[in-house]
């Protein structure tokens, strides 16, 4: 027992020294996560607003101006100015200067005065479907509000919405927990995979193999520093999230770190497994990337799992990032306890153990 501990700490110290030796690696391992949280936090905003809108007012009456003002009032559409004609508006759409064109045809005020339906015309650039549906929704919402203002006499159904956990529906509050899992994957899986591949490439792995170290001890000693780095990174991400983006911490931090440790076991395990399948750092990086990209897309961070097509959903069940994202969102936002999350935690532990034993086996077999 004593001997294993000595061996473990020896490998651990060697690995830490090797990592710390290159100051740039240290800087990157700590900086990349923070930059990532900032970038993701500020860049991703699913509340589409300020859609650039060109205006063609062919009627040019007080009525037409009033309606245009009303459509623009809630800020979803932002005017980039008036254009003289419909062809000019189409050109603006083609050059991406405008994504929406609001056209008030001639005779708008006259139709209004005669109590006939007065028509607004809307041209939408559909190349970005999210934006175009939000823009169309804004116009239709305004039209409908005019309609219901008229129909106050009849019965009406009103929806009163109440948001749990994230009342302001701020995007970073639910995105940052997902980002934490992604950046841990980016940092730990790549670094572990490349670290071992590097030893193989440089030839030091052969030297280690001649020492009396059992391969399991080597594996554990090698991954421990990266798990620690991961824990530091996730703390930094959580700090930035809470401080800058107001991400609440409603559950137990202890549970959060326990789940993170279980998740890190899977990410470094996958890194090790990849490194036993590859011969060079370049291959290891490619291998890590081939895993990471699908894992991120199928995690439920970018789009919820229940909206994915049925044949893709089973793939998310073997994705550790999916379970981790669910756990972190639940712990931070909903204050969930270990009892609520036992399925996810169990899944993480099972995947982690499975991956690490496979990697150790393969590594061992590769020695002969």
């Amino acid at each position: 027992m004593m001997r294993i501990l000595v061996q473990l700490s020896a490998v651990f110290v060697k690995e830490v020294r090797q990592t710390v030796q290159d100051k740039r690696v240290v800087a990157l391992l700590t900086m990349v996560p923070i930059v990532q949280v900032l970038l993701f936090g500020y860049a991703i905003d699913f509340d589409v607003d300020r859609v650039p809108t060109a205006i063609v007012d062919l009627d040019d009456t007080p009525e037409s101006r009033e309606v245009l003002q009303g459509v623009l009032a809630d800020g979803t559409l932002a005017s980039i100015g008036r254009l003289p004609s419909i062809p000019a508006a189409e050109a603006a759409l083609e050059s991406s200067e405008a994504a929406v064109v609001l056209i008030v045809p001639e005779g708008f005020a006259r139709a209004h005065a005669r109590r006939e339906p007065a028509r607004l015309q809307v041209l939408v650039d559909g190349s970005d479907p999210t934006r175009s549906s939000v823009a169309a929704g804004a116009v239709n919402g305004f039209v409908a509000s005019r309609l219901s203002a008229l129909a106050t006499a009849g019965p009406r159904i009103e929806v009163r919405s109440r948001l749990f956990f994230n009342p302001a529906l701020s995007t970073p509050v639910y995105m940052v927990p997902g980002i934490a899992g992604m950046l841990l994957l980016l940092v730990t899986t790549v670094v572990t995979a490349m670290g071992l591949a590097r030893e193989r490439e440089v030839g030091t792995l052969e030297q280690i193999r001649v020492t009396p170290l059992p391969s399991s001890v080597l594996m554990v000693g090698k991954v421990t520093p990266y798990i620690l780095i991961g824990l530091v990174d996730v703390s930094a991400a959580l700090g930035v999230g809470a401080w800058l983006f107001g991400v609440p911490i409603r559950g137990s931090l202890l549970l959060f770190y326990a789940v993170t440790a279980a998740y890190l076991l899977t990410t470094v395990g996958i890194g090790l497994l990849i490194s036993t399948l590859t011969n060079s750092q370049q291959q290891a990086y490619i291998g890590a990337f081939m895993f990471m990209l699908p894992a991120m897309l199928l995690s439920g961070t970018m789009t919820p799992v229940h909206s994915m097509p049925g044949w893709l959903q089973p793939l998310t069940y073997v994705n550790p990032l999916r379970y981790y994202t669910e756990c972190v969102r639940a712990i931070l936002l909903k204050g969930a306890t270990a009892g609520d999350l036992w399925v996810q935690i169990l899944a993480l532990v099972v995947i982690g153990l499975l991956v690490i034993t496979t990697a150790t086996r393969r590594f061992h077999a590769g020695a002969h």
Partner: protein, 371 residues
């Protein structure tokens, strides 16, 4: 000149052998673009549907059942059972049973019969923000339709809006994402593979050996880049062909502009990869540096998935320095809007500027490193 070509060709031949003997490089070059296309094209749809909805029906009337029917008919919401009261909602959300709970109070049918306002509640799980957002919008629209139906009389609309959606009338995400995938794959492969391949020569010491041969610096760079340039061309063709075939992405504009833009973008990316590897000389550092300076910006700040107009001004400013932004603009313009050379001049000029900057810096750095 012929000597230059011969030596560069020899370097290119050496690099091609490296690539072709390494199945992993071929995977990332040829399989990854298709995997991305399938996952993003089918998996990532921002038009959310199948949102699990639970209901609390305290009214138990034909009207309340009709409202639930309205909510689940279009496929945006899927009925995931019912709850006894709204107090159980938080628990249901914690267990991930649903993302929204519709509560219909007692007296709902009576209020409608009396022509009063009937208020129903919608409780939402804000931790799944995308679904919550969509659910609010949809619920409002559904309630409006249900109101009109219960009014039972035709109202002359005072205002009507006719909407035409240009370029992508069906609103399919794949059409929007394919240009971005092409840019992202090029950014990934060109920057990363070249950075790693040059950094590896430094790390293993074979760069020193190359310097002892009569091959010149410029020839080393050109020879290193040509195979990756060819790989990039194959990738663009692959993504566009698969996009056209599987998702029906049109090519309405000028294909010459598209080819020119792709070539310029690739040159810039390859130059960036070489520059990173010359500065870092270490594969591990090179990967992290490429992630930071190329892959993340190409994904987040290029308008690939998230519109740039929506970002804070500082990020919008930075996005002007991301070549992928211009490349994606050109691709979308050519593929979806039928644009040609004249509409893309500014973007092309930016790509030329970026490529010359990267290539120039690489060559300058490379010379100095040796002296």
């Amino acid at each position: 000149m012929t000597v230059f070509l011969r030596r560069a060709a020899a370097m290119a031949h050496k690099e091609t052998l490296h690539i072709s003997r390494d199945a992993w490089t071929l995977y990332v070059g040829l399989v990854l673009p298709l995997v991305l296309l399938v996952l993003l094209g089918f998996g990532v749809s921002f038009d959310l549907d199948h949102m699990p909805l639970q209901v609390v029906d305290l009214d138990h009337s034909p009207e309340s059942r009709a409202l639930i029917e309205d909510f689940t008919a279009a496929g945006e919401f899927v009925l995931a059972g019912s709850l006894a009261s709204g107090d159980e909602a938080a628990q249901a959300f914690a267990a991930k049973q649903s993302v929204a709970v519709l509560t219909i109070p007692e007296g709902y049918a009576r209020a409608l019969a009396r022509s009063e306002v009937a208020t129903v509640g919608l409780l939402l799980d804000g931790s799944d923000g995308q679904s919550a957002q969509q659910a609010v919008t949809r619920a409002d629209a559904l309630a409006r339709i249900a109101s009109l139906r219960s009014t039972g009389r035709a109202v002359v609309p005072p205002l009507a809006a006719a909407t035409w959606t240009r370029f992508n009338p069906a609103g399919r995400s794949a059409l929007f994402l394919v240009p971005g995938i092409s840019a992202y794959v090029l950014a990934l492969v060109a920057v990363l593979l070249t950075a790693l391949s040059v950094a590896r020569e430094w790390e293993r010491g074979s760069m020193e050996q190359l310097f002892c041969t009569p091959v010149r610096r410029g020839e080393i760079i050109v020879g290193k880049l040509v195979p990756y340039l060819c790989m990039g061309i194959v990738q663009v063709l692959l993504v566009l062909a698969a996009g056209a075939w599987v998702f029906g992405v049109p090519a309405r504009g000028d294909l010459f502009t598209l080819g020119l833009a792709s070539l310029l973008f690739m040159l810039g990316m390859l130059g960036q990869g070489v520059l990173i590897s010359i500065i870092t000389r270490n594969q591990m550092v090179a990967t992290q540096a490429s992630t930071m300076t190329s892959m993340l910006p190409s994904m987040l700040l290029s308008g690939f998935i998230f519109p740039v107009d929506n970002m804070p001004l500082l990020l919008q400013g930075i996005s002007h320095l991301v070549p992928a932004r211009y490349y994606i603009d050109i691709l979308r313009g050519v593929l979806l809007k039928g644009n040609g050379l004249s509409e893309s001049l500014f973007e092309l000029a930016m790509l030329v500027a970026f490529a010359s900057l990267m290539m120039g810096l690489s060559l300058a750095r490379f010379r100095r490193k040796l002296a």
